[in-house]
């Protein structure tokens, strides 16, 4: 079966796609469907994904602050903390923002440029 990292990704994709909170059982069924849909039933016969594995994945995602669970109900229902778009925006904010450590954390092809300089570069592009 897929690695934990791949499962995390698959679970997040399901949670982001689904509108409402889902239980680990529902998630497991949907994961089984998608993997069966992708490469036929052949590869995974007899290696059904265990609910405990899904729960492990969910608790890892919860620790990372990506998933939250509704505590009132049993079995617990899980949902994504924020949308895929919000997470992407957060990530890009980290990249494009001007946090003091940013330049040491990652190297951008182009640092932030002022509006005036961007204008100069646009003119330059016209000459190229």
């Amino acid at each position: 079966m897929a690695s934990l990292g791949e499962l995390e990704r698959a679970v997040m994709d399901l949670l982001w796609a689904g509108q409402e909170a889902a239980t680990a059982n529902t998630l497991r069924d949907r994961l089984a469907q998608t993997s069966a849909g992708q490469d036929g039933a052949a590869g995974h016969e007899g290696k059904e994904l265990a609910v405990t594995t899904v729960l492990t994945v969910l608790s890892r995602l919860e620790k990372k602050g990506l998933v939250e669970r509704e505590r009132g109900t049993r079995p617990h229902r899980y949902q994504a903390v924020s949308s895929r778009e919000d997470h992407t925006a957060e990530l890009m904010h980290e990249v494009l923002g001007s946090a003091p450590d940013r330049e040491a954390v990652l190297a951008r092809f182009i640092g932030s440029v002022s509006e005036g300089e961007a204008e100069t570069l646009r003119k330059l592009l016209g000459h190229l």
């Binding site: 990652l106 182009i110 570069l121 592009l125």
Partner: protein, 330 residues
Amino acid sequence: MFWASYLLAVLAIVLAWPVPVLLSRAQWPARSPFTAMILWQAIALAGGLSMIGAMLVYGLEPIGDNLIAGLRALAGMVLYNAPTTALGFWHIFALSAAALLTAHLVFTLLLTYYKIERQRRRHRELLSLLASPSAEGTGTLVISHNSPVAYCLPGGARSVTVLSDGLMAALEPAELRAVLIHENAHLSQRHHLLLWAFAAWRQALPWLPTTRLAQESVNSLIEMLADDVALKTESKATLIKAIAIVASGSAGNSGGADLRPEASSLALSGLDAAAGTSGADSARTTASRVSRLLSPRPELPAPIRSLVVAGSVLLLALPTALLVVPGLLG
């Protein structure tokens, strides 16, 4: 031994202020960024060494003829309660300051490393959920975002280069290759180690002119080094267009694709305004990168480069000698 502490102090002051100011204003680093990078490292290392050394040598002066004898006598006082009457107030003050500064530098270096690693790990986690592998090869991810963004996230075997949808739409294949080669050069030349060291240096002593100037210069020099690697396989015009499109797209409007003109010969005008723009450090970096590509100046002649490297070695040898030689003479 006494004169050695004065010479070290003079060296520390010279390396903390006038030398970095002059070097950061010099034009030649853009011609030979690698040589300039060696010099900046020598300035930072020799500066730190002479700062600590000056205080250490001054403080140990009454209890030893040289560094080793002094340190041995000091160890006797600290560990075995030997009498400390030989040391005056200022000697003890200098020794404490030397110990504190050393600890502060080491601690800041480690703390900065930890902070950077934590941010990178978090970033990598999110990327593994949000980005998809790119057709450009392993270690390259694509994230769906409209503005043209390209960056690399160092992390040993898990290093990745990230491109945005917006970037891939705005650039032609050759320009995209130039961007990828540029980013991979950062990774293969391990620029993140330099960025880490100089970020920590600035974090530890933010009020010292040399730490800010050194970090800004190093940030700019690594971009030039990566540009030079990209120029080995892609044309100058391609790289300049890639820089211009990404830069004009990432400032406010993300319409990089609309700005694409037909390729023609290189225009050498319009760079003065770019070079003169003031603003954030990175804006100056971008301007100096573009002007360097538009009106390239020849690399420094080999003898001068050798001279600068020899000077860097001398710069490191000088405080070391001042610390060690009195012991050899005595």
